[in-house]
Symmetry: C2
């Protein structure tokens, strides 16, 4: 896969366990429009603070990423380390320091091992000659079991362009960004301010609609770079080709988001939670998220138990307006609940069959209005507990 | 243990698995002042709706409780069943139907097996002659591994009185009441309106300060009956003995609340989360609850991992105002974090020793103000997942 004007690289720096790629670089030969969306956690890791300041200008040229260490809760030393990293990369590439972004994921509260990272930067830059975006996808993995990658192509003003992205994130996934990193690149030309707007909207409809465990990380970062190498006129609002770009962007973000849920720590199920008929979209999302984050609902999914009562209970405490005597609930197309009570017949047996599937949907209709939302989640298994109980050891 | 003028009974009605007490009765020989606090879930079980209406009068004489079936999401039939149950009990006791309350806990969405419950009511009433409050504590258990009971005695106007209570609730425990039932009885005379106020406050400081899994049930009910058999003048605001009653009441509620957390489904740890120095008590509670409900924090407790970074992350997304560079964190008396970063020295080794204990505290000081809160929680273990994955099967 080639995205014009972009180069990629990944090396081992022994920040993670030895023998695994853990330091990656994305480089655009020319300055690119950039947009970023970051964690809402008040405890923000040093690299997040750096990028928030630098993406305000709307242009950047490189992103350096490491896994194995989050550089979070590391104080002034952590900020120094993040800035040293971007400076060394910028010097090596011959670009301005301010055009270089940085992202980190891994253990919180441990100083970045600069003595191991620093000497690998020359090799990282040399690697740009032969590296691929797949290498980047692999280098950013932590507890992920597979690399997450998506690609789309489109046309703007008669010019073909490519839009590609990588992401990581397995646990600690929850709306408002989790330890979730995503980097998108496109050779389309895109107006920076418009890019920021449509990227934010796309993230809200994808990464902010997934939940693995309800925790919001200190390091979440989603970045998109658009370098214009395709040669089109910059896409912006009102442009006839802009709508198609937005569609491609949203599709790509949703694909990455779903890959993250499929790879949820210990996940054995992939579940789509649809809430319809809420007073508003916001209330629909509130209800869907309460269901997606309920430990009781998620363990029932793991146990393949068609326990619709726990789902109604979660909707009930979500804060969304409901009338308990109107609610409907289905597993796939099996109606389990009508008017707030069990639908009867063979629903129990048929619902149990649905729960045995690897992927299924839960649809709740509140019959209160027109609000809708779809959230993607996984189950809560023994392995989730195991992975997270043993994470640092 | 005797509480003057109260009688207790419990029988088997095969609502739960055979061979276990599952139907209980609390009876006061004279009408008693009553106060109730109920689930905030919008999906309320039928017995909750009945009791909410009936406790408004401030007087009651009997509470009939079953375990094994929650009578929730059971529609009009569920309401009929709850009312039939109170009517049969009231008839048998020769008291007004409106003076009889009902509570249920167990599986949601399954009709109450009235054909098994109904014929056991005569035996339940006969059992009042030889029954004890311990029998009630046992009969209301679901996944609880031990009965929860507490007792206090005090004096008002020169008269000795007793205050006793039972509770159940192991999973699905979370502020704003969870599948948590609690029944308190006292032979003190207490003004009904004042009783409602101090009971509500006591519940806010106890049952609403514990969390096992963050789920709020459809059935939570806490009731207190005060029948005045001790012969004191009714306690009310301003009374010199009233303060002592409040202290006893709060102590008893907190004891029951802690017993519930100790018996959290699959719990291997009992953890006290203290947040100090918040902008307000409400923000302190918000931060403490975010920590107590974080799956990542709870699995780290289970893994005996002194992963303070996850705790800071939870405080960071809790919504409480914080300055990441001021936060302090300790496990028991081991300072792990100072000014938002690792405190250094031998903190890691000493903190890990604390986490190996069965009970320990986490104290977070935000240094933003005077707000404080203490929340009690358990860890998240394999057994939590097992218990809840297999609950209905």
């Amino acid at each position: 896969m080639e995205i014009k004007g972009f180069k990629f690289s990944a090396v081992e720096a022994a920040i993670k366990k030895p023998g695994r790629l853990d330091l990656a670089l994305i480089f655009s030969e020319v300055p690119a429009a950039v947009a970023g969306v970051y964690t809402t956690n008040k405890v923000k890791a040093a690299p997040v603070l750096v990028d928030m300041a630098r993406t305000k200008y709307g242009l950047c040229q490189a992103i350096v990423v490491n896994s194995g260490n989050a550089n979070a809760c590391t104080g002034g030393q952590g900020m120094d380390d993040a800035l040293t990293t971007t400076r060394l990369v910028a010097e090596g590439l011959g670009i301005p320091d301010e055009a270089t972004l940085v992202a980190s994921t891994g253990v919180i509260g441990v100083p970045m091992p600069m003595e191991r990272l620093r000497p690998r930067i020359p090799a990282l830059i040399e690697g740009l000659e032969g590296g691929t975006l797949e290498d980047v996808a692999e280098a950013i993995m932590t507890t992920d079991t597979f690399p997450k990658l998506a690609i789309r192509s489109g046309e703007a003003g008669g010019k073909r362009y490519t839009l590609a992205g990588v992401a990581k994130g397995a646990g600690m996934i929850m709306p408002n960004m989790a330890t979730m990193l995503a980097f998108l690149v496109t050779d389309a030309a895109v107006d920076p301010a418009w890019l920021q707007r449509v990227f934010r909207e796309g993230v809200d409809l994808s990464f902010n609609m997934i939940s693995v465990d309800g925790d919001t990380s200190t390091n979440d970062t989603a970045l998109v770079m658009a370098n214009g190498a395709a040669g089109n006129q910059p896409l912006t609002a009102g442009d006839p080709d802009a709508e198609r770009f937005v569609r491609l962007l949203r599709g790509l973000l949703l694909s990455l988001a779903k890959q993250i849920v499929r790879d949820g720590e210990g996940a054995t199920k992939f579940v789509e939670i649809n809430v319809r008929g809420a007073r508003s979209n916001a209330e629909a999302r509130q209800a869907a998220m309460a269901v997606a984050n309920s430990c009781l609902v998620k363990t029932a999914f793991f146990g393949q138990d068609a326990n619709w009562g726990r789902i109604l209970a979660a909707v009930g405490y979500s804060g969304a307006n409901i009338d308990p005597y109107r609610v409907e609930l289905s597993f796939d197309d099996v109606r389990m609940v009508r008017n707030g009570i069990f639908a009867g017949g063979d629903a129990e047996a048929r619902g149990t069959e649905v729960l045995k599937k690897r992927e299924f949907s839960v649809t709740v209709n509140l019959w209160m209005g027109e609000g809708e939302a779809t959230v993607f989640t996984s189950d809560l298994s023994y392995d989730y507990v195991k992975i997270n109980a043993d994470y640092r050891t």
